[in-house]
Amino acid sequence: MSVSVQQADFDAGAEIAALAAGRDEVGAVASFVGLVRADKSAAGVGAGDSAVQAMTLEHYPGMTEKALTAIVDEARGRWDIYGVRVIHRIGRLLPGDRIVFVAVASAHRGEAFAACEFIMDYLKTRAPFWKKEETPAGGRWVDAREGDDHAAGRWATDGD
């Protein structure tokens, strides 16, 4: 199972090892872990009371898994990769908690890095998750970053 949406935490080391286990053509595993930051609100409010105390991740059950699988399939079409693992947590998380994991196994590092970053960029703009932060000033939904659309746009090709 290459895509999981779950409340439970994950073990990045075990997931990386599993992608390479028993496949001696794998020479490279690139991976990414996203975590809840507390230092400043992702909502972009610069004022004092913006420290994030907790965060709740809402998603669109049914569509989420389809969207993630479509993103992984697109990566498999673009690069010669042997294995992909995507885990996205939902529910209430605290600062320092892991939110998302993406890992890609390939023969060489160039393809592993490119596919891993591609999947993260597309996940950020195409997978139906929404973050609501709890701060001393109250709850608020995180605004999408324009930079995320730009990052995903980098991968656009003529065929898209």
Partner: protein
């Protein structure tokens, strides 16, 4: 057959509901027309017109406001996604 409509995140909170079932009114054939139809109900439904960069999905696939809608479809409206 009705259209099933879903709302998520800040839009869900603004509307006070996460879903509804609706007989597709005559003449409504696109996501954008359905959005306008709902927004015309007045407060709080105007949030559908004022949400910045409103996104939509038809049958769990993200599509533009010009995408076709027909009876039996599942249509979702939501703000830009912020996962990851």
């Amino acid at each position: 057959m009705n259209v099933r409509i879903l709302f998520f995140a800040g839009l869900r909170e603004a509307l006070g509901t996460g879903s509804e079932s609706l007989a597709l009114p005559a003449g409504i054939a696109t996501v954008g027309a359905l959005r306008d139809h709902l927004a015309a109900r007045g407060e709080p439904w105007t949030a559908l017109a004022t949400t910045k960069n409103l996104r939509a999905a038809v049958n769990q696939q993200m599509l533009g406001l010009d995408a076709a809608v027909k009876a039996g479809d599942e249509v979702a409206f939501f703000p830009p996604v912020t996962g990851g």
